[in-house]
Each structure stands twice: as C-alpha cells, then as structure tokens.
C-alpha cells in the first residue's frame, strides 16, 4: 500500500533523534488517531540549520516526519512554513488517501516548532492553518 519512498523513509528514517538544545520544539497529534509527532529545530539567522523528529505512529506518520525534516533543513523559517502537507505527500510519491492526514500532521508539527521558537524569542506566533484528524475512520476486521 505504501510507495517505495515511504517504505525507504520508514525503514531508514532521516533525522530521527532528539536535539537536546533545540531552539524550537513542536508536538502535534492525538492518541485517538494513533499518531503523535514531535519536531525539533535548530535555528540560526532565520535559517533552519538542523531538524529532527520523534514519532509515535504508523508507517506514513514516520515517513512524513522523516521527509518533512529533510525538506526544511537549510530553509528559512518562511520557506519552511510554506511547505504544505501536499508537498510532503508528493515528495513521498503519494500516500494512501486514508493516510494523507499524516502529512497534515507533519505540516502542523513544523508550524508548531516554528511558533515555539518565535514565542521563545518573544515574537508573535504566525497564524496556523486548518489542522485535522479527518483521516480517522472505521476498521475492517478479520
């Protein structure tokens, strides 16, 4: 069900670690949906020098976190903020429809981490888009 890129990022996650002295930390997700994502940022001169993640969740959640951290490294905060869940999903060569919310989570986690940094710096947080756990849906059993 997953693309090769998803499986690659799941099996060999990039940036999967804690950054102990992170400048911004964002945590999103909800245990009902079964996904929690935490993103750590190291920021210098408005540029993301390092990014990492910890994730409790399915394959798509892990891969989305991994891909998202890759995508924001070296970007300015503004550029990173603009990275959409679609961009993450596309970079992963697609996600199953019911897993698209994982890429949304990644976008939200980036936003949360950036805002956490801004708040620490005494700045106004930027305005958050719509988040959702809309992918949650029923289960077929054996």
């Amino acid at each position: 069900m997953y693309s090769e890129t998803v499986m690659d990022h799941f099996n060999n996650p990039r940036n999967q670690r804690e950054i102990p002295d992170a400048d911004g930390i964002g945590e999103v997700g909800n245990q009902k949906c079964g996904d929690i994502m935490r993103i750590f940022l190291k920021i210098h001169d408005n540029v993301i020098e390092d990014a990492s993640f910890q994730t409790f969740g399915c394959g798509a959640a892990v891969a989305s976190s991994s891909m998202a951290t890759e995508m924001i490294k070296g970007k300015t905060l503004e550029e990173a903020w603009e990275i959409s869940n679609k961009a993450v999903a596309e970079a992963l060569e697609g996600l199953p429809p019911q897993k698209l919310h994982c890429s949304v989570l990644a976008e939200e986690a980036i936003h949360a981490a950036i805002n956490n940094y801004l708040e620490k710096m005494g700045l106004e947080p930027w305005e958050e888009g719509e988040g959702s756990c809309a992918g949650c849906s029923g289960c077929g059993t054996d």
């Binding site: 996650p13 245990q31 409790f56 019911q98 029923g138 289960c139 077929g140 059993t141």
Partner: protein
C-alpha cells in the same frame, strides 16, 4: 527486504486452504458442475456432495444435518442470525443483548437495527475481555428477543462462558446466537452443551476456502431469510449453492475436528514459549485471558509504540502478523476490543497479535523471539512517548 523467512502468524485473519481440501473441491468445478437443484443424473454428484458436507459440519458441531445452512461466510451467518431473528420476532420485542467485543459483523448489524428502532445492550467485559453470565441475566428485559455472545474473540482469544449464558437464555426462553468463527478447530464446539440456537462458522478460518460458511439453526426455530430467491437450503437461503466451497467447508471441518485436540496441545506449548519470551521485553503485557483463551492466540501490548509500525518492521523481517485485527489498510481506529478491556487509546493502537497455525514450528517461534525485541526497541527509540530509561539513544 530480507525475505529469508516467511513466517505466517496471522491464522486468525485467514488460513491457508489445505491442499487436501483443495483436492476435495477440484472435481466440483469442471467435472461435477451440475446445479444441485437440477433433476438430471449429472447433477446428482453436486447434490450428494452438498449433503455429505452437511453431514460433516453437523457431526463436527453435534448438530442434526437439517440444522446446517450454508452461507457465504461468517459475516453472512452473523448478519442472517441477527437480522433474521429481529425480523421474525420483532413484533414480540425489540431488545437485543450483545457484548462490546463482538466482531463487527455482529456489532454493525445490531447498530443498523438500532436505527430501525431496536434497542441494544452492549455488555461490558472485564480486563481479560470476559463477559459475566450474571451481567447477561441482569440485562434481560421482558422485550429481549435475542442474546448474541461470541464463543471466542478474534483479537485477544478470550473464550466466553457460553454454556452458562446459554442456560440463562434458555431459562428465560430467549434465542441465543454465538459467533463461533474463531473457535472451530481450536476448542470443542457442541451446540447442545452450549445451549445455542444459532451458531456462525466460516471455512477459511480452519483450513477451508474463503467465501463459504454455515449457520446452525436449531430445529424448529423461526427465522426469516436474509437472501430471498430460489428454494435452496430448505427455502431458507436462496442462491445457487457454492458446491466446491461447500465441499471444501466439509472437508476442512472434518479435518480440523480430527486433529483438534492434538493440535491444541501443540499450540499451547508454542504459545507459552512465545508469550514467555515476549513478556521479557520491559513494559509489555498480555491482552486477553491468561488461561481461558484460544490455544493459538497471543496478543501483547508494548507500551509507547504503535501497531502498524510494528507490523511493517516484522513484515520486513518475513513475519506476517496483525494488530488486534486484520484491519483494512483504511483503518486508523484503535481496537474496540482493547478499549472495552479498559486500555487507553494509545495502547489500543499498539497491540501485536500473533496467531499460530498447524504449520507453525518451534523454530518459527524462536526466530520471532529474536526479531520482536529489536523491532520494539527501534520503535521505542523513535517514539516521543518513550521514557529516557527505555531508550538506547
């Protein structure tokens, strides 16, 4: 992926159709292909094959052959039992008792009836997933027409006190259905000692083919059809009979019944080895009942990690397993069974179900015991929920 191993530990989801069963089915596709309802002699083989299969199913369940009705699987059997009774007895009462841990084939059927004005009581279970017979008796009302309690749970393997529940149902003259889909071939099933009026089975759970099952309907019980049409199955279940499938069901249940007690002993040994080994992983717990459980079922929670990730990593190591249930890939729901057992949401997302089969060997178990700890550790290292002391980095 390093697919040196291929270890199938998801026999609760489905089993390999046994080659002997396939051989038994084969002549009924292209050779004895007559419509069993037809008069001429070339249809005789189909007819007698069906009746032979019916005898085998009846024998395995301690039923009379006239009480066995073939269906397209466990789902149809469950739907038919519940909807057929609701429709035939709905004038007498509109209250149905079931449990919080039934299969969705039962739960979603009663939910549909709820929309049509039936009232449903969902009995709770204890931490082991066990229903108490007392709670059944307490839930009975004057307008209760049906009690449906599964014989064994598909996720955690807990075996319910169905015989006692059946006695209660009988003493109150209430119809009693049990979903025995997971029990056949694992534990003895006898419709008389169980006091059931209706019992569902599905062939692919015990070495038979997918797409065929049966419903036991006690002699004399009034039930409406679910499928209307031709006069097959004593006019109770219409549709040209799935002759090869029915033959396969018969062959599989005969086989499963013959090898059951020996197999169960073997399964229990392997199960113990597997459970003992897995529980050496810190912060792990067995779900379901420690003793009153299907001989082939292992269901374990590893704190801080999520089910699908475990499965993907096990799969990469050649191990086929499931979380709680064989969800469609569409599923993000936590297990309703584990929630009913009192587990919090994140744990209800994180269980690993390993269900052994007749092909499972000790070497398989040992291999699994080598792989799982690594997988769990890797995911714990990744998880934001894992406490420091359980991390390797």
């Amino acid at each position: 992926m390093e697919n040196k191993h291929e270890i199938y530990l998801d026999n609760a989801a489905t089993t390999r159709t046994h080659p002997d069963v396939v051989s038994a089915m084969l002549p009924y596709f292209s050779l004895h292909f007559g419509n069993p309802s037809s008069l001429y002699s070339i249809a005789r083989s189909s007819r007698t094959a069906i009746e032979e299969a019916r005898r085998k199913v009846a024998a395995a369940l301690g039923a009379d052959e006239r009480e066995i009705f073939f269906t397209s699987g466990g789902t149809e059997s469950d739907n038919w039992a519940i909807r057929g009774i609701a429709s035939a007895h709905g004038k007498k009462g509109r209250h149905i008792i079931t449990t919080a841990i039934e299969h969705h084939a039962v739960l979603h059927t009663v939910e549909a009836l709820e929309k049509e004005g039936f009232e449903i009581t969902y009995l709770p279970v204890d931490e082991y997933g066990m229903v108490s017979p007392e709670s059944v008796e307490e839930a009975i009302r004057p307008d209760t027409i049906l009690i449906s309690v599964m014989l064994a749970n598909n996720e955690i393997g807990t075996i319910q006190p169905v015989q006692k529940i059946g006695e209660i149902a009988r003493s109150h003259k209430i119809i009693f259905h049990s979903d025995a889909v997971q029990a056949i071939g694992q534990i003895p099933v006898d419709v008389r000692t169980m006091n059931v009026d209706l019992l569902s089975i599905s062939a692919h759970k015990f070495g038979g083919p997918k797409g065929v099952g049966a419903l036991f309907i006690r002699r004399g019980l009034r039930i409406d059809p679910l499928l209307y049409g031709g006069a097959q199955e004593q006019r109770r279940r219409a549709g040209t009979e799935n002759v090869p499938g029915i033959v396969g069901l018969g062959a599989a249940i005969e086989r499963a019944a013959a090898m059951m007690s020996e197999k169960a002993e073997r399964m229990k040994k392997l199960r113990k080895r597997l459970i003992d080994g897995l529980l050496t992983i810190p912060k792990s717990r067995l779900n379901g009942h420690p003793t009153e459980r299907l001989p082939n079922n292992v269901n374990i929670i590893f704190d801080y990690i999520e089910g699908e990730s475990i499965l993907l990593l096990l799969d990469a190591n050649g191990i086929a397993a499931s979380t709680g249930s064989a969800c469609t890939s569409a599923s993000l729901d936590p297990s309703h069974v584990l929630l009913a057992c009192g587990l919090p949401h994140e744990q209800a997302h994180g269980s690993l179900r390993l269900t052994l089969g007749e092909e499972t060997t000790e070497a398989d178990i040992d291999y699994v015991l080598g792989v799982v700890p690594t997988v769990v550790q890797r995911l714990r290292d990744m998880s934001p929920l894992t406490p420091k002391e359980l991390r390797t980095r």
